[in-house]
C-alpha cells in the first residue's frame, strides 16, 4: 500500500470500519510512514471536534406542533379518501361516457359507409329500420344505426 491508498482509507481506519488484510496493510504502512501518521492524527482531531459540537435545543413548542400535525393528519385522512373516491367515480363515469360516444360514432360511420357502398348514388342514406324507425324523429337514426346498423 502506498501513501495515496492509505490516506484515502484513513477515515474508515479511524472509524474502525476496516478489517482483515486492509487493516494489517494500513498498520504496517503507518508504522513506517510519518506523513500518513500525521494525516491520521489530523483527521482524528477533526472527528473529535465534530463529535463534540453542541446541538441546539429545539423550540419549546416543537413537540406540541409535531403532535398537532399528527392529529390533523389522522383526522384528515378519511376525508381525503372520500375525496379521492369521488374523483375516481367522476373519472370513471367520464371515461365510460367517452367510450360509449366513441362506440356510437364508430357504429354510425361504419353503417354510413356500408349504406353508401350499397346505394352507390353518392347520397347518404340512413336506414331507419330500428325500433325508432319511421317514428318521425329525424335524428333518431344515430341510435338505431349504432344498435342495428351492422346487421
Amino acid at each position: 500500500m502506498n501513501c495515496k491508498s492509505v490516506q484515502s482509507r484513513l477515515s474508515a481506519y479511524l472509524d474502525r470500519e476496516l478489517g482483515g488484510d486492509e487493516l494489517l496493510q494500513m498498520r504496517a504502512h503507518m508504522s513506517v510512514c510519518r506523513e500518513c501518521r500525521c494525516e491520521a492524527e489530523g483527521l482524528r482531531v477533526l472527528k473529535s471536534l465534530l463529535g463534540g459540537i453542541h446541538c441546539p435545543e429545539p423550540p419549546e413548542d416543537l413537540q406540541q406542533k409535531l403532535t398537532a400535525n399528527m392529529l390533523r393528519q389522522r383526522y384528515e385522512e378519511p376525508r381525503k379518501i372520500v375525496r379521492v373516491s369521488a374523483l375516481m367515480f367522476a373519472g370513471v363515469t367520464a371515461c365510460s361516457m367517452l367510450a360509449t360516444l366513441l362506440v356510437l360514432n364508430y357504429g354510425v360511420s361504419r353503417h354510413l359507409s356500408q349504406t353508401a357502398a350499397r346505394g352507390g348514388n353518392g347520397q347518404s342514406q340512413i336506414a331507419i329500420d330500428g325500433p325508432f324507425g319511421g317514428d318521425g324523429f329525424g335524428n333518431a337514426p344515430i341510435l338505431s344505426a349504432a344498435n342495428f346498423g351492422p346487421r
Binding site: R9, R44, P59, Q73
Partner: protein, 198 residues
Amino acid sequence: MLFSATKERTTTVGDRALLFESLIQDSYKQAYGLAYRLTGNVAEAEDLVQESFVRAYRFFHRYDETLPFTSWLYRIMTNAHIDMVRRRGRIKTTSLEASGTDGATTWDLPDSEASPDRQMLLNALDEPVQKALTSMTAEFRTAVLLADVEGLAYEEVAEIMRTSVGTVRSRIHRGRKQIRNYLLKHAPQTYRSFSDEL
C-alpha cells in the same frame, strides 16, 4: 360483525397514533439537532423536522418496529432535506478541495474528559464548523453528520442514504477533509488551539 371490525381498526389506528406520539417525544430533540446541522439555521431546521414527522406518520404503516425509529426517521429526513434544497434551488456545487497535509504537527489521543478550555474552543468553533458544513454538498454533509455527530456505523449511514458502504466511506472521508481545510483557512488559530488541547 361489521361494528367489531370497525372498532378493531379504530383501536389499531389509535394505538399507532399513541405509539407515534411517544416516538415523537423520544426522538424530536435528536431529530432537531440533525436538522439544525443539515440546514444551518433554526427556521429551516424546524420546517425540516415538521416535514419529516409528517412524512413519517403518513408512511408509518411501513415502519418496521424492530428497527430503531431514528434510523428510519433520518432516512426520511435526509430525503426531505434534499427535496427542500432542490426546491429552493440551493444545491451547492462547490468543487472538492484537494486534501492538505500539514505534516509537521502531531497530536495525542483525544481525552475523553472535556476541559473548560476545550469546551470554550468547541463553542468558538461551532460557527465555523456549521459554515463549513453548509458549504458542502448535501450528500457529503449528511454522511459526515450521520457518522460523526450521530455516531452511526457506515452500514447504517449507507442504509439511511440508500447507497453503498463504499460511497459512504468516500463521502465521509472527503467531507471531513473539506471541513478541516475550511477550518484551517477560516479559523486557523482556534482550530490549532483545539488540536493542541487534545
